[in-house]
């Protein structure tokens, strides 16, 4: 008999601070979980969740309840993750000419990379679109729901998942000589 999240979100979109507070409290852990799946690191996930928290109030004003709140919020997460990556890529390009300190830093990165576990490696080895899709499926979304969130067809989701599985199988093979 609890008010469901979608109607809470609609109330919040209309300016109801109490509804927004309840909504954030209910959804935060879930959003964080997806963010972790999308980024593969706690720190990154915390930052991504922060991005989402900061942008959510403004975005929420456009929430009309056509999709369920979960679908809508997941879409927001995936887009925010895209934005972060795109910015990072731009900055990385811009940074490539930055001299020795940058080289040092990257060397340090490479060392740390080796220490990461199989899971993180596996996730990071995937192309972005496959990883996003897989993250949603691992978060108990159906293929149809994931397609809805990513704005692609259910068939594409299934295809991406099978691609992701192939990648993982290859990785496994390399991993266990």
């Amino acid at each position: 008999m609890q008010t469901n999240d979608t109607s809470l979100a609609l109330a919040a979109a209309g300016g109801d601070a109490g509804a927004f507070a309840t909504l954030m409290e209910r959804q935060y852990d879930r959003l964080f979980r997806l963010c972790f799946r999308l980024t593969g690191s706690q720190a990154e996930a915390e930052d991504l969740t922060q991005d989402i928290c900061a942008a959510l109030p403004a975005k929420l004003r456009g929430f009309k309840g056509e999709a369920s709140f979960t679908t809508w919020a997941y879409r927001l997460c995936v887009n925010a993750a895209h934005d972060r990556r795109r910015r990072a890529a731009t900055h990385a390009k811009a940074a490539s000419g930055w001299g020795d300190w940058e080289v040092n830093r990257r060397a340090a990165n490479a060392e740390a990379e080796e220490a990461l576990d199989w899971l993180t490696q596996a996730m990071r080895a995937l192309p972005d679109d496959l990883r996003d899709t897989l993250a949603l499926i691992l978060d108990d979304m159906t293929h149809a729901q994931a397609g809805d969130i990513l704005g692609i067809s259910e068939g594409t989701v299934s295809w991406r998942i099978s691609q992701a599985k192939k990648h993982l199988a290859t990785l496994r093979k390399e991993d266990t000589p």
Binding site: L8, R84, A92
Partner: protein, 633 residues
Amino acid sequence: MSDDLDDLKSLMNAATPRPDTTRKSENIALAQKNFTDLQGSRDGARLTSDRPETGFISGVKNMLSTLTSRAGLTASTAIVAVGLVMLSPLGESLLPTKPDAAFVPSAPQEEPAVVMEKATAPTSSPLVESAPMIAADMATESMGGAPAPAMMTSPANSRMIMDLPVVRPESSTENFANADANPVQVTTQNPVSTFSIDVDTASYSVIRNSLTNGQLPPNDAVRVEEMINYFPYDYAAPTGNDAFQPTVTLTPTPWNADTQLLQIGIQGALPDLADRPPLNLVFLIDTSGSMEQPNKLPLLKQSFRLMLGQLRPEDQIAIVTYAGSAGEVLAPTAASERSKILNALDNLGAGGSTAGQAGLQQAYATAAAMSEEGDVNRIILATDGDFNVGLNDPDALKDYIADKRDSGTYLSVLGFGRGNLDDATMQALAQNGNGQAAYIDTLSEAQKVLVDQLGGALFPIADDVKIQVEFNPATVSEYRLIGYETRALKREDFNNDKVDAGDIGAGHQVTAIYEVTPKGSAAERNDPLRYDTPVVTENASDELAFLRLRYKAPGSDTSALIETPVQASVTGEAGFATAIAGFGQLLRDGTYTGSWTYADAIKLASETKGDDPFGYRAEAVQLMRLAESLSAQ
């Protein structure tokens, strides 16, 4: 192949960390701040960038938190290159690398490992990330072109505010005390039901607040007995020297034709308040940052102002606040010095965190100092329920207060505001402090609790009131207590005067309702046991049950006993209390109400509204109508 996916899923579930609580409350606070700002500037500047709002400050913070000595030099070079002299190497000391470290010393959030991982994340090179954004922010700032609301919503600003060494309001966490609804008991197996009375009304106000805001309340916020006890009923007043008088009625059950409702009403004596003893009141006021909203501290001040008019010159008042550190704002002052007290109240401002425990300790100390022989001492704690510093575990608080209540000081709790109302802690405090918990959401609720029913709120007439009902297996096959889930007592606790229970104030009323299934009724939910030895009830009487009440005179250590048999004949029609009991069960889960609906509750309540001088019952009918519409969505 799918093995891989399943493996990955379990790996992923195992690897998913719990969100860092500090970051969580920061992030939620940020979201709420942006939300609030947005409400204030609905038509103002829109956030222009479609990029998620992570500001340059967060970039700088990332940078500073990942600074190592190796990178330090080059990092500062980079910053100078962008031309932001303000954040030159000195910046390290200007902006703390761990902004939270000052006030959350043990937060394990920035462990080196995490920092390393952050540095290796494929996405960010935070140093450089900050560069263009600084430029952008500097540009708008120097042109002075950005409209104020836009700056307010800019994360840079909110980040700045967050970095001040002040703990911001916690994330909105509401925590309600409740237990599963009482199950149906089989009389032959479990003939005795024991519970403590409950004069709290907080749950009803919380429900009203939820409903009027257009939401069905969370199930756990619904405590049916507190809803029933919110309303005054027409019970016979005790005569002579008795502290109270039980009134027992048996009525048909509106939601089940085959059962009956046993309603036990207790009316507390209303001693002549003209000769009441002097009162020592300590207002313990939460002035933490979260109390700033209009429905919290400002409402609280108005409420106490109302109450001041009810006090006598010989009463004494002290005010203790707690926020960050506890402090006595007003030394014990005679109630006749109205302007002094009002001034002290008006000067209260919100800010800081909630050092609940220190505040309580000081309040008890102040109350002890004010205490004189024959006085009634009471602490009135006004809070939004947030005890985030010190003893914040309800159990630890319970022990502390249970320890203190033996000193003879009562503790009442007034809850304000929603968002982080910690109902569980409030319950723990009031139950163990021998007091009452009420939730004040409007000034008219303050009028009800602090003016109309002030006597009940402040003057106890009986302590540790326990009720025990023994049902007669010859006439009752099953029974169920509606509500009082959080007040259940063990059977043996009834006669144990050491076990604490609820207290009744002057003029208080308490109502408890059992749904009883008569022997042989079609409504029996449990089949008789095949291997059970049939109970032979010698001299089986036609009594329905036997009611026992225990209470102590205030300050006394030994209890008195009232006993009365209950006859098994229907003695009345379902009344307003029944309508509220049904309403509460519908809000909670409706397990036992069958096909009975809100519409039926509205009909019953309207028919039985009776004389309603203050309009409480009319308001309840309105709430039922709201709940009906909301649940139909």
